[in-house]
């Protein structure tokens, strides 16, 4: 028996490394972005770049459950909010270290994901979508009524987070690269997870739930674990966004934001990780571009979405599966 037969990845290595290759190309482009910005002498662009990277993190985290676990969570913007408010709350108590802020964001997100996920995952299909949306809205209203942090109006941050006590992130360029580093690290993590034993179970449940139960996997605990991981990783993006904007508000977690995250994942191709990153770039650039052309960019974005679903043969999700199928 050859090693190839043993590992049983015939026809797969190319697909596997395709994910990594696309991601590496994207990372290289991201890394080259700041010099270009300096050449263009438009420092504001670097903040837009950071924002894109942050949403890439969130979209990738959502892809973990949407693409690999077939769980359509419509409340993921809540975790952006937890990340953002972790920065606001901790810094108001004088804790500016980004590592601690991320840790706090993850802890809160894990708890919220555990409780709401445990309830949502008792259901499936339309119910799951509506319930995750409702819980997302619950978090939204919580922060809206949090008057100590500005409620509806939001809360301006006095300074950017520090890294191990050093004021490194104050430079927009350093902050950009730090975010890129986070994205790369989290991509590596997600990549490992989906290829691991756990990732196989998660993908298997997407493919055929009955079969998985019939070989001894109770779906709930695996899906809930993935849901919690995804929530935690999404909150990291929230920490970045708060620092990028120097401002937090409940608008970070409106249900529109949750919808936009789904759009990003689907645009780039679900269940590919690197696709979610590319989708975040595409969606936000499209938004920036349309926004520069017309104040009613949402109208065109909406039309674009509807047309895309209606005129792809089996829908966007079907289209992606077709592409994936022909590639393998």
């Amino acid at each position: 028996m050859t090693d190839a037969a043993l590992t049983g990845t015939a026809g797969r290595p190319s697909a596997m490394s395709a994910r990594v290759q696309v991601a590496l190309v994207l990372f290289a482009l991201f890394a080259l972005f700041p010099p270009v910005v300096i050449a263009l002498d438009d420092p504001f662009l670097i903040l837009i770049g950071t924002r894109i990277l942050a949403y890439a993190i969130a979209a990738m985290a959502l892809d973990l459950i949407l693409g690999f676990g077939a769980m359509v969570s419509f409340g993921h913007a809540a975790y952006l909010g937890f990340g953002a408010y972790a920065v606001a709350v901790l810094s108001s108590f004088g804790i500016h270290d980004i590592a601690l802020q991320i840790l706090a964001a993850m802890a809160v997100s894990a708890l919220f994901a555990l409780v709401t996920g445990a309830i949502s995952l008792r259901t499936r299909g339309v119910y799951f979508i509506m319930i995750t949306l409702a819980f997302g809205q619950m978090a939204f209203f919580f922060f809206t009524s949090l008057s100590a942090y500005g409620g509806d109006d939001g809360y301006a941050l006095s300074q950017r987070s520090t890294l191990f006590g050093m004021d490194l992130l104050r430079s927009n360029t350093v902050f950009y690269y730090a975010t890129l580093g986070l994205l790369m690290g989290l991509f590596a993590l997600c990549h490992l997870i989906v290829r691991s034993r756990f990732g196989r179970v998660l993908t298997g449940l997407r493919e055929n739930r009955t079969r998985m139960q019939a070989i001894g996997f109770p779906p709930f605990r695996y899906q809930l674990t993935a849901f919690v991981i995804s929530g935690c990783l999404t909150s990291v993006a929230g920490v970045v966004l708060a620092n990028q904007a120097q401002f937090v508000s409940p608008a970070f977690m409106s249900w529109h934001r949750s919808g936009e995250l789904i759009v990003m994942v689907v645009l780039g191709g679900i269940g590919t990780l690197s696709g979610a990153i590319g989708g975040a770039v595409a969606a936000l650039l499209l938004e920036e571009f349309l926004g520069a052309v017309t104040e009613h960019w949402r109208l065109y974005f909406g039309i674009f979405l509807v047309l895309m679903v209606l005129f792809s043969p089996r829908g966007i999700t079907g289209l992606v599966q077709q592409i994936k199928g022909s590639r393998r």
């Binding site: 590992t7 049983g8 034993r197 079969r211 070989i215």
Partner: protein, 249 residues
């Protein structure tokens, strides 16, 4: 003591009694076949035994332990595996991955997040051994959705075997398989006899009478006859209630 014992099992859908006071047992190492016309409630019975469906009343024990209300995954972990009449596979996974996942369910933790599962020689070695047994080792790297129907049936069996069961519930493993392929399949099942305790549901009478140690006949949710194959074959009640119907059909 019997491995698998079913006592007074009942299940109704509305007014329709699909399982009507069924009692049966399977002794260790025995192959007990259940035959019956379409709509007799065979698949519903397997569904209740495997935990996919809850019976209304009655009791199911595995090695003396009551499993009537136990969820399916837990039964599998106790050594009760099933195959499906309608093939249930993971279409986007390779053949080897389909089987390796079943091995994984049985062995070690699935809460491992970092090591790539595809390079797990422990999983792949055991999976390959099972694939050889099912005659699918040369198809290991192929996407499961690309297999032929006969190969799907063999994969279905291989997945069940890979969970290392003591008791196998086989729901029409030969469904849609014919000719030489069916003969080879029967030979494979014959080779498995004794190693596993098996409850076989099958339409192919030649296969049933060639393989079974004991045959029970299920008609309209009730067991109307049970005994050694020859005895059941010559039972006049069975001939009219079931075999006659089959012949005329």
């Amino acid at each position: 003591m019997s491995r698998l014992q079913v006592t007074n099992l009942c299940k109704s859908f509305g007014a329709l009694k699909v399982t009507d006071d069924v009692s049966l047992d399977v002794a260790p190492g025995e192959l007990h076949a259940i035959i019956g016309p379409n709509g007799a409630g065979k698949t519903t019975l397997v569904a209740q035994l495997s935990g996919e469906m809850r019976p209304d009343s009655g009791r199911i024990t595995l090695d003396g332990r009551d499993i009537t209300r136990m969820p399916m995954p837990q039964r599998v972990r106790m050594g009760l595996a099933r195959s499906f009449q309608i093939t249930q596979i993971l279409p986007a996974f390779t053949v080897l991955e389909n089987v390796a996942l079943a091995v994984q369910a049985r062995r070690g933790s699935s809460f491992r997040f970092f090591a790539p599962a595809a390079e797990d020689t422990g999983l792949n070695g055991a999976a390959m051994a099972t694939l050889r047994e099912a005659g699918l080792d040369d198809r290991a790297g192929v996407r499961a959705s690309a297999l032929s129907h006969g190969e799907h049936r063999r994969l279905e069996l291989a997945i069940a075997l890979a969970t290392e069961p003591q008791v196998l519930l086989l729901d029409e493993p030969l469904a849609g398989v014919g000719g030489e392929e069916a003969d080879a399949f029967v030979a494979r099942l014959a080779a498995m006899k004794g190693r596993f305790t098996m409850l076989l549901i099958e339409h192919d009478m030649d296969a049933v009478f060639a393989l079974a140690d004991r045959v029970s006949v299920l008609v309209y949710g009730q067991i109307v006859a049970s005994g050694p194959p020859d005895e059941v074959r010559s039972d006049p009640a069975v001939r009219t209630a079931y075999l006659g119907e089959e012949e005329s059909a």
